[in-house]
Amino acid sequence: MATVVWLHGGACNGNTQSFLNAEEPTVVDLVTDFGIDIIYHHSCIPLMGEQAKSTLMGVLEKGGPDIFVMEGTVIQGPGGSGRYDMFLGRPMMEWVRDYAASAAFVVAIGDCASWGGVPATAPNPTDSIGLQYLKGQHGGFLGKDFRSKAGLPVINIPGCPAHPDWVTQVLVAVASGRLSDIALDDLQRPATFFKTFTQTGCTRHQYFEFKQSVKEFGQGTRSGCLFYEQGCRGSFTHSPCNRILWNRQSSKTRAGMPCIGCTEPQFPHHDLAVGTVFKTPLAFDVVPKELPQGTDPISYSAQAALARAVAPKWVQEDMFVV
């Protein structure tokens, strides 16, 4: 049994919508079978106005919930007042401060709550910040030394949005007392999901091995890897997108869309500068500026030249045919 209070700050509700797509278990299963007691969630629980306020104040007075879930950035603007985001008569950031201090576990769902995400993109007009990070910088709204009552830092479940399974499994782990089974990585993400790369399990991996590019979108994606021209970040982004498929069906890279690195703190990368959207920035017009994790330009170039030289004939052919 675990009580949950879910608040949303500078958010699009995408993590909630993603969460509602969950199966095995579904959101309904979480409530009816897994002992998740959702006390407040803006979309799922029919409370508003004074009843919402008295419920939320009441939980704080009784010592806080087991799990505080934050969706969206903490909006600090203008001028540190938090008045760009008011909730039930108070700046949302004050509710966040109270709930983070009172909950046994604090979970940041999605990029916005984890690192600031899209709203914190330069020039960050709302002074948005993640719970314990701002982009890659440790600290965030709660400070780098923050620990929840259970002694843990904020558990980050990033992604824009987070996959529902990543969320439900962490909630169930807390509710069933198995959280100790989950290790957090150096960005406070559950390692079980974020140790692998987005590329792990990508159907285009054979084309990556032999350095064969996707020539163009659409019909062009019937063969090739999106790393060389379309700016795919799958070889240096950590996520299980090609292990735990999206909507039980597919992933962006399988469907022909380059990974945009949305589980990493710097998303959206390069602040969406000209030439960085769906294009691979190149050094000296040949070598991608950003390389697979742990690779340097010289060894990359040597391996690429060799791979192209030894590439079998079939890599020139379409694989994902009708």
Partner: protein, 536 residues
């Protein structure tokens, strides 16, 4: 003059950001209303100076519920700017994906966000209350659980085409990123059939999608209701009977004037997207309905007024020249500003710049226009409903639910038209200086982008959302926004639980979590503690 009070209701909307609704009551009837969006994120500021295609990544993240619709129109803004050629397959894929997002939204909105209010004890005395509690209670309702569950299926189709839902960016100027295979098409059809056979027909309609679509008038709907027990006892039948008994067909009239930008392009008639070519190419028709007559939709007649919004200064600008310059709400309140939403207005011929309602009711009224291309959806039902019983919470909801069978049939047809051996993308030339407009109809209404590109960067980017059309505040002339207008005249039975106000606001399915506040209008003292949707 009776007792004059004011109500403030908070957290009304249930999606992103918060909406506070403030009303003044005179003798139990709403005499004035203010809708206050209470969050600012600054997406238009973020987009300035960025890569021209940044809107494909950023704008879907304005709204996680209709992100696919944001992507669709952001893409057409670039298509018109760069004068691309879009192959018919790509138009079909874009249509299928966005319509599937709407097929997801309909049951999810109805059961998870709207009908949970039917189990409020305020309705305990209605004859259908026990049945409503059985079916619609959150999490445990016999319809709630399967319907919320099945709502995830149409977006599995989206994932097959775009990789994931929400927040794919797989539509790009010139087409789409994907090239589906036959198994993707077959699975998509199977997922749609699952949605139809597990919710649409057995739970919602009690009949086939085709049978429901035979209803062409309000009298047909009434005859359908009485045709058999299966219709009467379906969730749709129960919904119609309950709304009539509870008076939801009498409240929330709104401005009675509508805007629809139209959407779903015919694949053969929009291969070279232009702003001027939109109206003729859309399958879901565009149009302005002034209560009597239709006028063609023309984006150049739109202005965004920010007189009462927390942005610097006052006035109304066309979105190509739009400015997003936020101020501290504390400062804004001193100038009587009260919302983060701007007030979109449309210059209706003969009427000047006025507020218009957008959404499914607007769309389905617009569908009654005749004389367009053979590919356009022509459907007289909701103009007839509008004329016979008038707009209300009920009419608005019925129009939304009418789109479930309608768009299901369309998506199936579009899937059948795909030519898998043909192109899905034609690489465009990226013009460094250009401007474009893209529009669509998200589940909750007209959604448009205006982009100006200069020196290869975004010089200005403005988004006008359906939520802004509907929840926007008063304009500089003092005209109320549509939801404000819809609240006026509403009798509130119980000041301690003015449920009617939440239901009216939510009938617009705005993307905000709403809050309602209650005050005595004479003393400005808060008198009511609002709550709604309390579980019994």
């Amino acid at each position: 003059m009776g007792q004059v009070v004011q109500l403030d209701v908070g957290a009304v909307g249930r999606v992103e950001g918060d909406l506070d609704v403030r009303v003044t009551l005179d003798d139990g009837v709403v005499v004035d209303a203010w809708t206050e969006a209470s969050m600012f994120r600054g997406f238009e500021i973020i987009l300035k100076g960025k890569d021209p295609q940044a809107g494909l990544i950023v704008t879907p993240r304005i709204c996680g519920i209709c992100g696919g619709s944001h992507l669709y129109k952001a893409c057409y803004a670039l298509d018109t700017a760069w004068a691309t050629e879009v192959p018919p397959n790509a138009t079909l894929i874009r249509n299928i994906a966005q319509a599937c997002e709407t097929l997801q939204s309909i049951p999810r909105y109805y059961y998870a966000l709207f009908a949970i209010d039917f189990v409020n004890k305020a309705y305990a005395k209605t004859s259908m209350f026990d049945e409503l509690v059985k079916r619609n209670s959150p999490f445990v309702g016999t319809s709630y659980e399967p319907a919320v569950q099945v709502s995830a299926k149409p977006v599995e189709v989206y994932a097959l085409l775009g990789g994931q839902w929400p927040h794919s960016s797989f539509m790009v100027p010139g087409g789409v990123m994907c090239a589906p295979t036959l198994s993707d098409v077959t699975r998509s059809l199977a997922l749609l059939e699952y949605w139809r056979t597990n919710w649409l027909e057995p739970i919602w309609l009690g009949c086939s999608a085709e049978r429901w679509m035979e209803n062409k008038s309000w009298d047909d709907v009434m005859a359908w209701l009485d045709e058999n027990e299966s219709h009467r006892n379906s969730d749709c039948g129960l919904f119609i009977r309950f709304c009539q008994e509870a008076g939801l067909d009498k409240i929330g009239r709104g401005p009675g004037k509508y805007i629809t930008g139209g959407t779903y392009y015919d694949p053969e008639h929009y291969t070279h997207p232009t702003i001027d070519g939109r109206n003729a190419a859309v399958i879901q028709q565009s149009g302005i309905f002034d209560g009597k007559n239709f006028h063609p939709f023309d984006q150049s007649r739109i202005r965004e007024d920010h007189t009462n919004s927390f942005f610097r200064g006052s006035g109304a600008l066309h979105p190509f020249d739009g400015v997003t310059d936020p101020i501290d709400p504390a400062e804004g309140k001193r100038e009587n500003k009260y919302s983060w939403a701007k007030s979109p207005r449309y210059d209706v011929p003969g009427m000047g710049y006025i507020p218009l309602e957008t959404g499914p009711l607007a769309r389905q009224i617009s569908s009654a226009q005749t004389g367009g291309g053979a590919w356009q959806d022509t459907d007289p039902l909701f103009l007839d409903v509008f004329n016979k019983i008038g707009p209300s919470v009920f009419t608005r909801l019925l129009a939304r639910m009418h789109e479930a069978p309608k768009y299901y049939l369309r998506v199936k047809d579009w899937l059948g038209q795909l030519d898998l051996k043909e192109k899905f993308y034609i690489k465009p030339q990226e013009l460094p200086d250009a401007q474009g407009f893209g529009g669509t109809e998200s589940a909750r209404g007209t959604l448009c982008d205006w982009i100006r590109i200069e020196n290869g960067k975004i010089a200005n980017y403005q988004v006008v959302t359906p939520t802004a059309w509907n929840i926007g505040p008063r304009d500089g002339k003092g005209n109320r926004g549509p939801i404000e207008e819809a609240l006026v005249g509403t009798p509130v039975k119980n000041n301690d639980d003015p449920l009617e106000l939440g239901i009216i606001a939510r009938s617009y399915d705005s993307c905000l979590v709403c809050t309602v506040h209650a005050y005595d209008a004479k003393t400005h003292k808060e008198i009511a503690r609002y709550r709604t949707g309390a579980l019994v």
